[in-house]
Structure formats: structure tokens, C-alpha cells
């Protein structure tokens, strides 16, 4: 049953990735990457239970904080003078 939950989380991550690749605006991509990060937190937590090692939760906790900070930092960059003014922008290399 943990496997079912983990599968659902993985499917969601895949859907978020599709949105991140499709764009079209840079904000869509940041939104998708932020969602991907939240799902990563859930993935780590559930995987810890699946493999019987709840110690993974510490990593999930730290990842939740890092994900938030990175999203806000990237947004700060784009809010003031980054590309992204137009409806379509060239690809920004963002990863997570």
C-alpha cells in the first residue's frame, strides 16, 4: 500500500515535469518545479516507510526548507529584471 502511495506521488511528479518542460511562461516552470519539490518531500517520507527506515524523514524535513528557499530565491531573481516579461521566454535551465 505504501507502494500505491509512492506510485501516485511519482505520477504527480511526472505530470509536474511535463508542465515544467512545456512552460510556456517562466512562472509556470517555477510553479511546476516547486510542486515537484513538494512531491519530492512526500516521496522521501513515504520511501523511508517503504524501506523501513524512517530516518529518511530528516532529509525530507531539510528538503522542505531548501525547496521553499530556492523557490523564493529564484522568484526574487525573476521579479527584478530577469527574463520572463513576455508570454513566451527562451528556456531557462532550471533543475531541482
Amino acid at each position: 500500500m505504501f507502494a500505491a502511495a509512492i506510485l501516485a506521488v511519482l505520477v504527480t511528479m511526472g505530470l509536474a515535469l511535463i508542465r515544467a518542460f512545456r512552460g510556456p511562461t517562466v512562472y509556470d516552470r517555477i510553479l511546476a518545479v516547486n510542486m515537484f519539490g513538494t512531491k519530492t518531500v512526500l516521496f522521501i517520507a513515504v520511501y523511508g516507510f517503504l524501506s523501513g527506515r524512517p530516518d529518511f524523514l530528516d532529509i525530507a524535513l531539510v528538503y522542505a526548507l531548501i525547496n521553499f528557499i530556492s523557490t523564493v530565491a529564484v522568484l526574487k531573481f525573476f521579479e527584478y529584471g530577469g527574463p520572463g516579461r513576455a508570454a513566451t521566454t527562451p528556456d531557462e535551465g532550471e533543475g531541482d
Binding site: 506521488v9 505520477v11 513538494t38 522542505a64 521553499f68 525573476f78
Partner: protein, 109 residues
């Protein structure tokens, strides 16, 4: 009693998974950025909370449950801030929300 908690936790985990997939579908289906923001909100709030609550019930009382509660707390504080920052940055960047009807524009209300 233990069986009820077990069953409830499975229900929570599966509902959470369903909500997550729904949010993923929504982020693909909705027409513009601001509506997609709402779809992402589903996965950030109830989906995450339900999955983590389900895990908490599996873990039982202890340090693990407290850590899971902390993750829920963090996510519920950081989620809206990130969503608000995204919406504000998009507005600032000149992205206009797609509105249902012209009179929904705030210049009137």
C-alpha cells in the same frame, strides 16, 4: 482499535495520492498560469497533509510522528508564501490573468 487506525491510514494515503494525481492533471489541463496555481495548491495542502497524516498513523506515537507533524507544519507555512510570491512575481512581470468575463476586472469592483 489498531485495525481502525490502520484502515484509516490507508484511506488517508490513497486519498492523498488521488489528490496528488488530480493536482498534476489540473496543472496540465488548466488554461493559464493563475488557474494552474490553484491546481498546485491542492497538491501542496490537502494531498501532502493527508499522506503525511497517513504515515503518522502508521508510525504511532513517537519521534517519527513528531517529525512528520513538523513537515506538515512547514509545508503549511511555506506553501502559501511560495504561492503568493509566485502570483506577485507573475503580476509584476506583466502576466495578466485570464478572466472569465470582462466585468470581473477589478477596476470596477
Amino acid at each position: 482499535m489498531a485495525m481502525i487506525v490502520d484502515a484509516l491510514s490507508w484511506v488517508f494515503l490513497l486519498t492523498g495520492g488521488f489528490l496528488g494525481v488530480s493536482g498534476g492533471i489540473g496543472i496540465l489541463r488548466f488554461p493559464d498560469f493563475f488557474t494552474r496555481l490553484h491546481a498546485a495548491g491542492v497538491t501542496d495542502t490537502l494531498c501532502a497533509a493527508l499522506i503525511l497524516l497517513g504515515l503518522m498513523m502508521q508510525a504511532g506515537w513517537g519521534l517519527v510522528a513528531v517529525k512528520l507533524a513538523f513537515i506538515i507544519l512547514f509545508l503549511s507555512f511555506t506553501g502559501p508564501v511560495a504561492a503568493h510570491a509566485l502570483a506577485r512575481a507573475a503580476l509584476h512581470g506583466g502576466l495578466m490573468p485570464l478572466l472569465h468575463r470582462a466585468e470581473d476586472d477589478p477596476s470596477k469592483s
